[in-house]
C-alpha cells in the first residue's frame, strides 16, 4: 500500500514537469514570437530589451530559459505581468485562489448531497413518476447555461425583488473573505454556489441513478436480498457503496477542473475575482507570464485531484488495494 502511494506521487511529479515543459514551449518557444519584445513593452529602448533578455535568459538555450522561468515561478516568485508592469503574478494568483476554492467547495457540497439524494430516490422508485420527474429536472439543470442562470439570479435578487423580504439578505456582487466575516462570506456565496451546482446536480444524479440501476442486476445484490435485508439497506449499504466508485472519480476530475479555473463564467457573472477570471484576463491580453502561472496552477490542481481520487479508490475499493 505504501509502495502504491509512493509510486503514485512519483507519477504526479512526472506529469507536472511534463505539463510545465509543454506550456513553456507553447508560449515561449513558438517561432516568430519574441517574448523579449512583449515583456519590454512597445517602443522599448535597446538597453531595456537587452536587460530583459539577460534577466529572463532569452539569449541562452531553451533549457536554461525553462529553468529560469520555473525559478521565477516557484522559487523567487517574482515573475511580473507583461501588461501591468510590476504586478507580480504569483501573489495575484494566491490572492484569487481562496475565492475560487470557496466558490467551488460550497457548490461541491451542494451538488454531492443533492445528487446523491436525487439519484438514490430515483433509483429506488425506478419507473415511477417520481423517477421520471427527477431525471427530467436533472436534464433541465444540465441544459441551462450557467451564465444565463447567473444573470437571471442577479436580475431577480439584485434589482427587481431585492427590496422584498425574500431577497433582502442578498449582499451586492463580490467576495467577502471567510476570515473577515464568516456570515458575510456565506451570504455573498450562497447564490453563486447554487448557480454553479445546478449543472452538476443534473449530471451526477443521472450518472448515479444509472449506476444504481445497473448494480441492481449484480449477483451480490441478489445475495443481499436473499439474506433478508430491507430494500433500503440493500440499496444504500450494498448498492450505493459500490456505485460510489464511479461517482468519486467523476467528482475528482470536475472539482479539480473547476478549482483550476473552470468556474470562469460563474465568477464573471457574480463579480468574484477568482482564478477563472484571472485566466480569462490573461488570455485576452496575451499576458504570457500570467498565462504560464494560471495554467501551471490549474495543472497542479488537476493532477493533485487525480492523485487524491486514486488514494480514495484505495479506500473505496479493496480490489485496487491489492493491485488487481
Amino acid at each position: 500500500m505504501v509502495m502504491t502511494v509512493l509510486r503514485r506521487l512519483g507519477q504526479t511529479l512526472f506529469v507536472l514537469v511534463g505539463i510545465s515543459v509543454l506550456v513553456f514551449l507553447v508560449f515561449f518557444a513558438t517561432p516568430g514570437a519574441d517574448p523579449t519584445a512583449r515583456i519590454a513593452g512597445r517602443n522599448a529602448s535597446p538597453e531595456t530589451m537587452a536587460r530583459v533578455r539577460v534577466e529572463y535568459g532569452f539569449d541562452r538555450p531553451l533549457p536554461v530559459q525553462y529553468a529560469r522561468m520555473m525559478e521565477k515561478l516557484f522559487v523567487t516568485r517574482d515573475l511580473t505581468s507583461y501588461v501591468n508592469r510590476g504586478q507580480k503574478v504569483v501573489p495575484e494568483i494566491l490572492e484569487a485562489a481562496p475565492v475560487t476554492v470557496s466558490l467551488v467547495s460550497g457548490a461541491a457540497v451542494i451538488w454531492v448531497v443533492l445528487s446523491v439524494v436525487m439519484g438514490v430516490i430515483a433509483a429506488a422508485l425506478r419507473g415511477s413518476w417520481v423517477d421520471r420527474g427527477l431525471m427530467m429536472l436533472g436534464l433541465v439543470g444540465i441544459s441551462i447555461p450557467v451564465f444565463w442562470l447567473g444573470q437571471v439570479v442577479n436580475l431577480v435578487t439584485q434589482s427587481r425583488y431585492h427590496e422584498s423580504w425574500l431577497f433582502s439578505w442578498v449582499p451586492g456582487l463580490g467576495y467577502v473573505p471567510l476570515t473577515e466575516d464568516p456570515l458575510g462570506w456565506f451570504r455573498a456565496l450562497a447564490l453563486p454556489w447554487l448557480t454553479l451546482a445546478v449543472l452538476f446536480v443534473g449530471i451526477y444524479s443521472r450518472v448515479l441513478r444509472a449506476d444504481l440501476v445497473a448494480v441492481q442486476s449484480e449477483d451480490f445484490m441478489r445475495t443481499a436480498r436473499a439474506k433478508g435485508l430491507s430494500p433500503a439497506r440493500v440499496l444504500l449499504v450494498h448498492g450505493l457503496r459500490t456505485s460510489m466508485i464511479t461517482f468519486v472519480s467523476l467528482f475528482g476530475l470536475d472539482f479539480a477542473q473547476l478549482v483550476g479555473g473552470g468556474a470562469l463564467l460563474t465568477e464573471v457573472v457574480f463579480g468574484l475575482q477568482g482564478v477563472g477570471r484571472l485566466t480569462y484576463q490573461a488570455l485576452s491580453n496575451l499576458d504570457l507570464p500570467l498565462i504560464m502561472a494560471t495554467v501551471m496552477y490549474s495543472a497542479v490542481f488537476v493532477v493533485i485531484a487525480n492523485a487524491v481520487v486514486d488514494m480514495l479508490y484505495l479506500l473505496l475499493d479493496p480490489r485496487v488495494r491489492d493491485g488487481r
Binding site: 445475495t223 436473499a226 439474506k227 433478508g228 435485508l229 459500490t242 480490489r319
Partner: protein, 332 residues
Amino acid sequence: MLLVVRDLTVALPIGGRLVPIVESVSFTLGAREILGIVGESGSGKSVTSLAIMGLIDVPGARVSGSVRFRGRELVGLAPRAYRALRGREIAMIFQDPMTAFTPVYTVGRQIDEQIRVHQKISRADARSRTVRLLGDMGVPDPERVAGRYPHQLSGGLRQRAMIAMALSCNPALLIADEPTTALDVTVQAQILDLLRGLRREYGSSVLLITHDMGVVAETCDRTLVLYSGLVAERGPTGALFAQPGHPYTAALLDSIPPLHGPRPARLPSIPGSPPAPAERPAGCPFAPRCAYAHEACAVRPALVASGVQDVACVLPAEGRPLPPRFVAEMSA
C-alpha cells in the same frame, strides 16, 4: 412436510406478453431431505428457486400456484413478512461465489450482517459465531478469513463462506443453486460432502439445483427432472436412475460416461435444443427431440404414477415403459 409446492407457475413479460417460464411445477420436500432439481439451462430450475425465495422482481412478473412452507403460504406473502423469513428460515447459496459477495466488504462483515439483521445480538457475538461457522465449514484459520475481502479468497473458500452465511441463522430450508458449477472438481466433491453433512449437523433440508446427474446421484434422496419449465419426472433418486420413466431422463442418464464396461467412442447426446419459453409446442415439449415421439405426443401428457415415480409421458400408460438400466451400486 416442510415445503409443499403445488402448481407453481411463473410468468415473465417477454416481448409485451406474459410467457410462462415455469408451468404447474409441484413437489414436496420433507425434513432433512435433499431434493435435486435437474434440467438443462433454461429449464426453469433457477426461476423455481427464486420464486420460492420470493426474489422474482421483474416488473410485471406473475407468480401463481401455491408454495407452503411449514404450512404457511408464501405466494403473495407481504414483503416484510417474506424478509423475516429470507435468510433466517430459508437461505440460498448461489452458483458463482466469485460475484455473489459484495466486493467492497469483508466476508466476515457480510456474514455478521445477516446474523444481526435477524437476531438482536452484539457485533462481537455475531463475529464469534461467524468465525465458528466458518470453522465448521472447514475453512482453515477462520478468524483471518473473516477479515478478508471476497477477491482475496479462492473459489472453494468463498463457496464455503457462502454456505456459512446461508447457515448463519440455522435455516430449515437451504436452496443451493448450482453450488458446485463454478468450482474445480476436487473442490466440488468437498462442497457436496459438506452439503450432505448439513442435515446431520444442522437438521437442514436442501433443495439442490443442478444440471449434473452425477451430483444428483451422489447427493439427493429424491429427484425432480424439469424440462422446458415442466416437470418431466420425479421420484426417489435410486429408482429414477435404475428405471427412468421419461425418455428425457433416460437421455440425460445416457450422457453420463459409464464407470464400468467398455468405454463408448462417443457419448450419446440429445439432438436439438429445448424450445424457447415463448415457442413451446402445445403437446409434449420434449417430443421434437424424442426418439419415441408419436401421434399421442401432440397432447400434453399429464403427470402419472409409474412405479414409485411420477412421469409426464404417455409411454408407461401405453404399456411400453422404457427398459431398466444397468446401475452399478449407488452410494445411498
